[in-house]
């Protein structure tokens, strides 16, 4: 492979620039959910969603979409597909005999083909065999965003707006379908037996003051990612690595800004927005601040590794406990897997 890092990082970094705020992504998810079923196909609905997201003005701050652009005149506009294209694709999919066939009934050849594509495009985040890592474990009873085949195909095709899940950017209809068929074939992995004690892990979480940067179930400060459903979204190995060696894995959307104002005050905080002329941040007191770069004596984005502290000095037992606790965090309803 000619690259060694996940695609979503750069995508997310850009999403943070400009107007997007930590809540920006969430808005998009809601847009997505609020779309009425179109009664044609989900692919068609997804185009609609993309169009809708565009419309929301998010392009302003999010030059690079989570979806990777497909082919374009100008190389960046495929998201802006309109209803015409929708209808046509819908018609094509409906017309194709394969479209009516459930993914679970795909031929072994198609599933094998899908596995090969999965390993190239998906395994970096979802792990080989879909066991999860940086992205969710896919070997579950129900994939909460894609209980229906069409929804799964849509996600493979276009990603999930407002999350780190990108669209594929380069697969044709058959390849998308075969990847989806492979994901459907993954089955259910047995619940991972974790060595730690989640109760002790919770104590450690509180003692270490993790909540000064993370929210769990509504408590804490949102400087870093909300961990309320991190047990669903990440694999245990990824969490272990995040705690021990954050620079390797921590999402670069969370960047520390260090600046010095004209009157020699130093301000440090987490960047929430940036454009060519200004920067917005949440400072150490949790206040929203905005600065013009030209007014500053100094402005720097600290290297990515400085964002999350490393906790490499945890003992193995402590680390096990903490990871075990984090893996119990499965969202408000306890995880509708």
């Amino acid at each position: 492979m000619a690259y060694g890092h996940p695609v979503w990082r750069s995508a997310m970094r850009r999403t943070t620039m400009g107007i997007s705020s930590p809540s920006g992504g969430r808005c998009r998810s809601e847009d997505r959910r609020s779309q009425p079923a179109l009664g044609i196909t989900t692919v068609s609905a997804s185009w609609k969603v993309l169009f809708h997201s565009n419309r929301a003005g998010l392009e302003t701050g999010a030059p690079v979409p989570l979806l990777q652009s497909a082919a374009l005149e100008d190389g960046q506009s495929m998201r802006n597909k309109g209803p015409g294209r929708l209808a046509l694709l819908a018609a094509l999919l409906l017309a194709a005999p394969a479209a009516a066939q459930p993914l679970a009934e795909a031929s072994p050849d198609d599933v094998t083909h899908g596995k090969r594509i999965f390993e190239i495009h998906c395994a970096r985040c979802h792990g080989l065999d879909g066991v999860g890592g940086e992205g969710p474990n896919l070997m579950r009873e129900n994939l909460r965003r894609s209980t229906e085949d069409d929804a799964l195909i849509e996600i493979v095709d276009n990603g999930i707006a407002g999350t780190d899940m990108p669209g594929h950017g380069s697969l044709n209809t058959r390849e998308i379908r075969n990847v989806a068929a492979y994901v459907r074939s993954l089955g259910v992995a047995p619940r991972e037996e974790l060595p730690g004690d989640p109760v002790a892990g919770k104590d450690l979480y509180d003692m270490t003051l993790c909540s000064t940067c993370h929210i769990t179930n509504g408590e804490g400060i949102a400087l870093g990612p909300d961990l309320s459903d991190v047990g669903l979204l990440r694999g245990s190995a990824f969490l272990r690595e995040s705690i021990q060696d954050p620079p390797k894995v921590v999402n670069p959307r969370y960047r520390t800004v260090l600046l010095e104002t004209a009157d020699s005050r130093t301000v440090m905080g987490v960047r929430t927005g940036e454009d060519t002329f200004t920067v917005q941040l949440i400072d150490e007191a949790g206040r929203h601040r905005s600065f013009r770069k030209s007014d500053l004596r100094e402005f720097q984005l600290l290297p990515e590794e400085s964002m999350m502290m490393s906790y490499a000095d945890f003992t193995d037992a402590e680390l096990n406990d903490l990871v075990a606790y984090l893996m119990t965090l499965r969202g408000p309803e306890g995880g509708s897997e």
């Binding site: 082919a71 506009s77 495929m78 309109g82 380069s170 044709n172």
Partner: protein, 541 residues
Amino acid sequence: MTTRRLVGAAILFALTAAPALGQVSYSRLVNADDEPEVWLTYSGNYKSERFSRLDQINKDNVSRLRPAWIYQTGTVGRVEVTPLVADGVMYIAEPPSTIAALDAHTGRRLWRYDPIVPDETLNIGFPRTNRGIAILGDTLFFGTLDARLIALDRTQGDVRWVTQIADNAVGYAVTAAPLAVDGKVIVGISGGEAGVRGFLDAYDAETGELAWRWWSVPAEGEPGNDTWGGDSWKTGGGATWLTGSYDPDLGLVYWPIGNPAPDWNGDSRPGDNLYTDSLVALDVNTGEMQWYFQYTPHDVHDWDANQIPVLVDAEWEGATRKLVIHANRNAFYYVLDRETGQFLRATQYATQTWAERIDENGRPVRVPNMEPSEEGTLVWPSLAGSTNWYSPAYDPDRMSLFVPTREMSSIYFKSEAEYEPGTPFLGGGERRPDADETYGAVRALDALTGELKWEFRQLTPAVSGVLATAGGVVVSGTQEGNLFALDADTGEALWDFYVGGGVRAAPMSFALEGTQYISVAAGQSIFTFAVAPDADAGGND
């Protein structure tokens, strides 16, 4: 004078003068530089300089640039138009293909014409938008997403004629501004990503009848067809989706040509794939090609040549020469002789990893193994290129070309490509690598050498066109929503304003009653700025 004669004169005036605006004659278009208070063509003049000869807005007062008015289209797509201004009226296009006339003093709408583009209209590879209008006489000309060319009376917005120029069902569309010349309207098409076969058309401005068609991909038996394998020419792309330039003295139209299809999988089209990724010079009367120059033979990275070619007359090695300059998507800046197409110079102006150099004939010497692959191939620049359709601006006083620049790489993927009419015909795609430290810039290039004079760095890769002015300020924007003005000599930022929407169009300038304005489309609106009075100067500014 008797009462009867007075009444007669009044009626005559009412019948002739009152409803009609002035004529925008062909000679006004040719001599656009003499009339800097109007903006009559997409790029400001036939040379495509996008240079305003107004100098009221200058380095000293540009910091007081303030909104004069804002027009909200109320539409949902991207507004990417360059407005035209003539006789106090601004003409704009709104997504997808609607034309509106605004009072240029206030932004209040005078009329709007919606050609009603059906919902099922295809737009494969480009947004549902319209980037500009042409004007000739008292008529406006524009294309629609469903590939019609329409002529409107510019006073009322009434339809004069409609010509269906191609079939949208296979992917053809019009997003680019037509170019009006003497008695003709030249219009290009979009649709390369659907595997259409590209062409450039000229229509009679009075009747809408086809005057000539030039195919950008030669048919069997025609010169250049042997640069395609098998039947690949039939679906070869080569769209003509950006407005070209015109030299009235030479009678030549200069038009940039898009990439070959399928984009990232070139297996089915062995050869150079003429005339994709080229600049062509066509006889304005017949459409016959006089010369071509291909920037990127056998392109597999989607590096259309659809960037604005700028016509420059300059001293070249001791003699005055007619040149055409062009900052290409492939990261090189080119100088050609526009009479002959002779290659004179290429200079790299942005990061690239695909070519070792450009040889003495202008042909790239390629770095091996830079083609898209199933596993992905990291290449600079990204598929959107080192620049794109966003107009550059040429300052003839400084002999600087200001280029909206993108510093960005892609991982290019290759996959199967099967042609089905009216669907994407791509054969791959791109992803952005994590380590990719992307940014944008306005770069000022020496027009003769292509060497960098200065750059103004932007947070993200450029998507905005550039305007240069005789006041020594250069105006552009960012996709983050900034509009800004730079010192044309140094690149220093002199002014900026947050418009709250990505600037995905190019600014232009005009003047009314002695006041210079700068207008730009951003987000879903048109913003128009003028210099506010200087409070400190006691209103004497």
